[in-house]
């Protein structure tokens, strides 16, 4: 008896898997003999499949009449009997038999014997198929885990081994890759003149490809940062280097900033990365700068911005693994919650710890981390202002902008108050300065910028020997002179003056000096308070 037994290809049943392909790839032709035939493929839509699936036993091929290419092929190959191998209702193979060597027809006993054989062989064959399938899946998993390990090694090898120790600053970082390693990275780059470059980035994609792009980005960025001063120019250079070789559908988001530790100046550019947050006395603010991700297209421009981290303020750089972490119901942690956390918690390493605690509460302690999580914080010590007092030239403590919108003078006065408080101004004089800053900001927003929110008021706080200067600048330098009329309450009560018009009067009476300057474009009001003048107003311990 000649046997042409082969399991046919499972793809015909529409259940092809990676493991199945692996099985097929490892299949070798059955040892050949002169009367052994090649296996016959049966197309998934061939009616022979359905027939064999429902057949109760061995099928007489010659007697079968179906419009079936596979049946024609079987007949041409000389197959006389086809014995379906069915396991748990699924056709998993067919035992094809040629003519008996005795040249007699198959008897009823032969067919019963073959049916019994098929009934016992089918489960065994199925077990064999499953074992091979599982072996192939295990091999695939092992290859995958090996690749992930390689990706982890690449990424961790390129992260900073230690963080800088800066006088008056606390620098902290946290990096935890997801199981399927993403493309997060951060870096700290020592630069000339005691400046420090800070980088945070995220490569699209995961695993080895993302790790390789990350490594390339980091290397180019490090080299560019040493040659170029401006963060925007550095990102432009990196973009030009990455574009030609960037794999399709991959790109890198990246924020690069340069910190001057002695002044708190942080100049930065952003290639599409999540916006950093600065913790201020009033809460938290985003640092915005425009720019496309790296590696998408050449010739990109990266806007540069500068912030000044005042004593007590801190900066958080973060990756999207934080804000895009989901809770069990599918809700994201989100930017507003992170921004609120920055405002509420202390800065530095404690901020990172608190955010991680919030994240665990959000996602649940047993949830697998979805994406890499990276955070870097720069926190300036609250006492860092003291050494600058009375040591010579003017020293800028902070510069910030306030959108021209009603009520925003409160933001300005509160932030200035927080900056000036450590300088030792007594409580009563601090309240006077707050009122003057509030009035000056209000005037700038109204008379200078016409309450247009896209025209912000700029506030700078500077110190020099024993005095503090607050400069409030608007864009109304070409506007006519403001509030020239001295307010007279009797004239106001008599209806001879309008009730308003107290702003400049209050300002001049609240501070030691007030100077106005205009250059045709900008108008600046400078408020001066002497730090050693305690005679003007006795400290009555007053509160607003």
């Amino acid at each position: 008896m000649t046997t042409l037994a082969r399991s046919f290809r499972r793809r015909f049943l529409g259940r092809s898997t990676e493991a199945d392909r692996a099985v097929r790839d490892t299949e070798q032709p059955v040892a050949t003999s002169h009367d052994e035939q090649a296996p016959v493929d049966i197309a998934p839509n061939d009616p022979l499949l359905a027939y064999l699936q429902s057949a109760s036993g061995a099928v007489n091929v010659e007697a079968l009449a179906l419009d079936s290419p596979a049946l024609a092929e079987l007949k041409a190959a000389g197959v006389k009997l086809a014995v379906p191998l069915v396991s748990q209702g699924e056709l998993i193979g067919v035992l094809n038999l040629g003519p008996r060597r005795s040249e007699q027809d198959y008897s009823t006993d032969d067919r019963k014997l073959l049916d019994n054989l098929a009934a016992q062989a089918a489960p065994a064959l199925r077990v064999g198929q499953l074992v091979r399938q599982q072996q192939a899946e295990a091999a695939t998993r092992q290859r995958f885990e090996q690749e992930l390990e390689v990706a982890r090694l690449i990424q961790q090898n390129f992260l900073p081994k230690q963080l800088p120790e800066l006088a008056g600053w606390q620098v902290a970082a946290y990096y935890r890759p997801a199981r399927e390693v993403g493309g997060d990275f951060y870096d700290v780059i020592p630069l000339p003149d005691d400046r420090i470059g800070f980088v945070i980035g995220d490569v699209t994609d995961k695993g080895v490809p993302a790790a390789l792009v990350m490594a390339a980005t980091r290397s180019v960025l490090r080299a560019s940062a040493q040659r170029l001063v401006d963060p925007g120019a550095v990102l432009e250079r990196v973009n030009e280097h990455l574009c030609p070789d960037m794999p399709e559908k991959m790109f890198v988001t990246c924020l690069y900033g340069v910190l001057e530790p002695t002044t708190g100046h942080f100049r930065f550019a952003n290639a599409g990365h999540d916006l950093p947050y600065v913790k201020t006395a009033d809460g938290s603010v985003e640092l915005r700068a425009r720019g496309m991700p790296l590696g998408l297209m050449p010739g990109m421009f990266y806007e540069e911005k500068e912030a000044v981290l005042a004593p007590g303020e801190s900066l958080l750089l973060h990756s999207d693994g934080v804000v895009e972490a989901h809770d069990p119901e599918g809700a994201m942690f989100g930017f507003p919650r992170l921004k609120e956390a920055v405002a509420r918690y202390p800065g530095g390493g404690e901020l990172i710890d608190r955010v991680l605690t919030d994240l665990r509460e959000h996602t649940g302690t047993t949830a697998e981390q979805e994406d890499d999580i990276t955070m870097v914080t720069l926190a300036r010590s609250p006492s860092a202002a003291h050494p600058t007092i009375g040591v010579g030239p003017t020293h800028q403590l902070v510069e910030f902008e306030v959108p021209s919108a009603e009520g925003n003078e409160r933001l300005a006065l509160q932030r200035v108050s927080a900056i000036v408080t450590p300088l030792g101004l007594d409580q009563a004089r601090l309240k006077r300065l707050e009122t003057a800053v509030g009035e000056a900001t209000m005037n700038a927003m109204e008379h200078g910028n016409g309450y247009r929110v896209d025209q912000p008021v700029t506030v700078r706080v500077l110190t020099e020997a024993n005095l503090v200067r607050v400069q409030i600048t608007d864009l109304g330098g070409g506007a006519p002179e403001r509030e020239t009329e001295e307010p007279d309450i009797e004239a106001k009560l008599a209806g001879l003056q309008r009730p308003r018009g107290w702003g400049l009067f209050l300002i001049k009476n609240m501070v030691d000096e007030a100077h106005e300057t205009s250059d045709g474009a900008e108008h600046t009001l400078e408020l001066v308070m002497h730090l050693d003048d305690v005679s003007a107003v006795p400290d009555e311990g007053g509160e607003q």
Binding site: E406, G407, N408, E409, R410, L411, A428, K431, R432, T435, G438, E439, M442, P487, I489, E490, K492, L493, G495, R498, P499, R500, G501, W502, G503, F505, L506, N509, V537, E540, G541, G542, E543, Q544
Partner: protein
């Protein structure tokens, strides 16, 4: 930042109407302060007492609102008294000479009674 108007309650006590200023006294307080004034002077009181104990930030627009109240009070012959001012705002009331036209009292009792402890009658 001031975000919304607040209601300023009016209480009557011993012939005086007491307005409890709530929150920031600035441009956004205009509507609620004028409404409180209308309520306080619906029947002419002996005096209107401004309670600043619960007031927050007062800016120059808030000063102008109080000047407006003083002008209305003068037109109707109603006296205005104040209490609850912090030393800082008391200083501002003096610099602007608001204190020349309303009496600043140390507490509500003296403000309602009038004159006692006031800087100006």
């Amino acid at each position: 930042m001031t975000t919304s108007d607040v209601t300023m309650p009016v209480r009557r006590r011993d012939g005086a109407a007491v307005i409890d200023l709530q929150g920031d006294v600035n441009g956004r307080a205009e509507h609620s302060l004028n409404a409180a004034w209308e309520e306080a002077t619906r029947t002419t009181p002996d005096a209107v007492v401004l309670n600043f104990e619960t007031a927050g930030y007062i800016n120059s627009t808030g000063i102008a609102l109080i000047v407006g109240l003083l002008a209305m009070a003068r037109a109707r012959g109603i006296s205005i008294r104040a209490y609850g001012l912090t030393p800082h705002y008391r200083e501002i009331f003096e610099i602007t000479r608001l204190a020349d036209f309303l009496a600043i009292n140390p507490d509500e009792d003296s403000a309602v009674r009038g004159a006692e402890g006031a800087t100006h009658a």
